[in-house]
């Protein structure tokens, strides 16, 4: 539902990455994988709400971690503690949870770590988590320390080698079919390559992204075309099983 929420903090974590914490005044169930649509202003400019993955939930707060990628997120970063913002949430489906004792891989690229971090909080006591997260360049510890603390195995890479291993994260996942489940979110090229690598597609869950206007299934803006049919990311997803998506027969196939 659409509700007005108070900003507890909107903190700069990195030069273009912010942590937004909102007061949670109503008990609504929110699950890893879900997202929210945030009204940037009460005016009509920017007109559309911005979809953000849910990063962390506590009894009295909801957190988002976002990167400034355009004017909307820039305006959001200027919001101050005590400001109010209208939010539509929770939206979308959720990551199917693993079974006790399973061996899990989390594969995150850039801001794709956001929903995975929420999932990690949810499951790390129950399962063995192997986290593989990659960034273009060095990034503040506060953004990835949750993975380091809660994972049984943790590997970070940067494309320029300024932090962790040098290279793209997929180059560091060996024997990929040993995991009971893999959860991934990040750039489409990363998801596509991961999907190709994983033999048992039913073990893979991908959180997809596309520009969206409404977030609840009426504008039909956020489509992923594969196998000759449309998946609507906001409503059918954003989480899809590796069986549901087929990058070989999709809009990304040349």
């Amino acid at each position: 539902m659409l509700r007005e929420m108070k900003i507890i903090k909107n903190q700069k974590m990195e030069k273009d990455i912010f942590l937004l914490r909102l007061e949670r005044d109503l008990k609504i169930d929110i699950f890893p994988g879900q997202f929210a649509m945030l009204r940037i202003n009460d005016s009509y400019d920017p007109l559309l709400s911005r979809p953000l993955s849910i990063y962390k939930v506590s009894d009295d707060s909801i957190e988002f971690l976002y990167k400034i990628v355009g004017r909307g997120t820039y305006l959001l970063s200027n919001k101050k503690q005590g400001d109010k913002i209208k939010v539509l949430l929770p939206l979308g489906n959720r990551f199917p949870l693993p079974i006790h004792g399973e061996k899990i891989a989390l594969v995150g690229g850039g801001m794709g770590i956001v929903p995975l971090s929420f999932l990690l909080d949810y499951i790390y006591k129950d399962v063995d988590v192997y986290s593989y997260i990659g960034f273009p360049t060095k990034i503040h510890e506060g953004i990835w320390e949750n993975f380091k603390e809660k994972s049984k195995f943790f590997l970070l890479s940067t494309e320029d080698g300024s932090l962790g291993e040098k290279g793209v994260i997929l180059d560091f996942i060996f024997d990929i079919d040993r995991f009971d489940r893999l959860y991934a979110c990040g750039p489409t090229s990363m998801l596509m390559n991961l999907w190709r690598k994983v033999k048992h597609k039913e073990k893979l869950y991908l959180s997809l992204e596309e520009k969206m206007a409404c977030g609840f299934g009426v504008c039909l803006g956020c489509v992923f075309r594969n196998n000759g049919k449309n998946l609507h990311i906001c409503k059918d997803g954003p989480v899809f099983s590796g069986v549901e998506v087929n990058f070989s027969e999709s809009q990304f196939t040349d």
């Binding site: 659409l2 007109l47 009426v218 803006g221 489509v223 075309r225």
Partner: protein
Amino acid sequence: MNPNLQIKIGDLIFKNPILIASGTGGFGKEISIFYSLEILGGFVTKSITLKPRLGNLPPRIWETPCGLLNSIGLENPGLEIFMIEELPFLEKINTNIIVSIAGESIEEYEILVKELNNTNISAIEVNVSCPNVNKGGIQFGLDKEILYELIKRLIKITQKPLWIKLSPHTERIDEIAKILKKARVSAIVLFNTFLGLAIDWKNRKPVFKNIFAGLSGPAIKPLVLRYIWEIFEKVKIPIIGCGGIICFEDVLEYILAGASLIEIGTANFINPLICKEVIEKLENYFIEEKIQDLIGKAHKRKEEF
């Protein structure tokens, strides 16, 4: 329910002038999570075509100042699946259900109208902003002769009131409106989206694969309002206003300019409760006056300037 909000168009009674515009509420299920669609004056479905359509590949939407460009490409499940899976839900709702139809040929439009004759819907909205495959892809609504031919043939077979949703790029809209009135069209809907363009300057190419896309949202409101005014003065045909309506005040502007009904579109995307909120404000505003008496009222006062 406030009886002062009631509007009559032909034999149809609308409990208030607020409708959800085609393509902005799907087939009703998503919006009905937020409120009961029974409170609406009416609901216009996403456009139905004879065969299922996958629509365009992304990107499909692009934000502009106070506006939204879209290039969805008429994605819809097609007539058959619509009739089986979507219509039963809509027919149970106690409000006017208007089905929007789009065809690639006059024959396709005819089949759609014939099939809808056997349903309980209130009216058919004809989306004429589709390419006519038999005439080199020009939109039906942009060719006066073809449009008249299409409407003449549909009027002959329809048992439902026909509304025609025009493109703002139609030439001589006043003449078209006169022709449509003569053809016994029940109402005209002004407008479908304006064609616009966005360039992806980083990659130095158009954002959309189809190059042009439809602009909606508050940015177009004054443009549409001007036509509502003009057509109201020139043609006595019920006008349904559609374009950039996002609040109660916009509704009043449209009605005072000459619209009998209002379709709210893009605003549903940014606030799924918008129609409910607008209707509540109308209920509080129209305590003594009747909304029907206010249609086109601003024209009568223009001499006072």
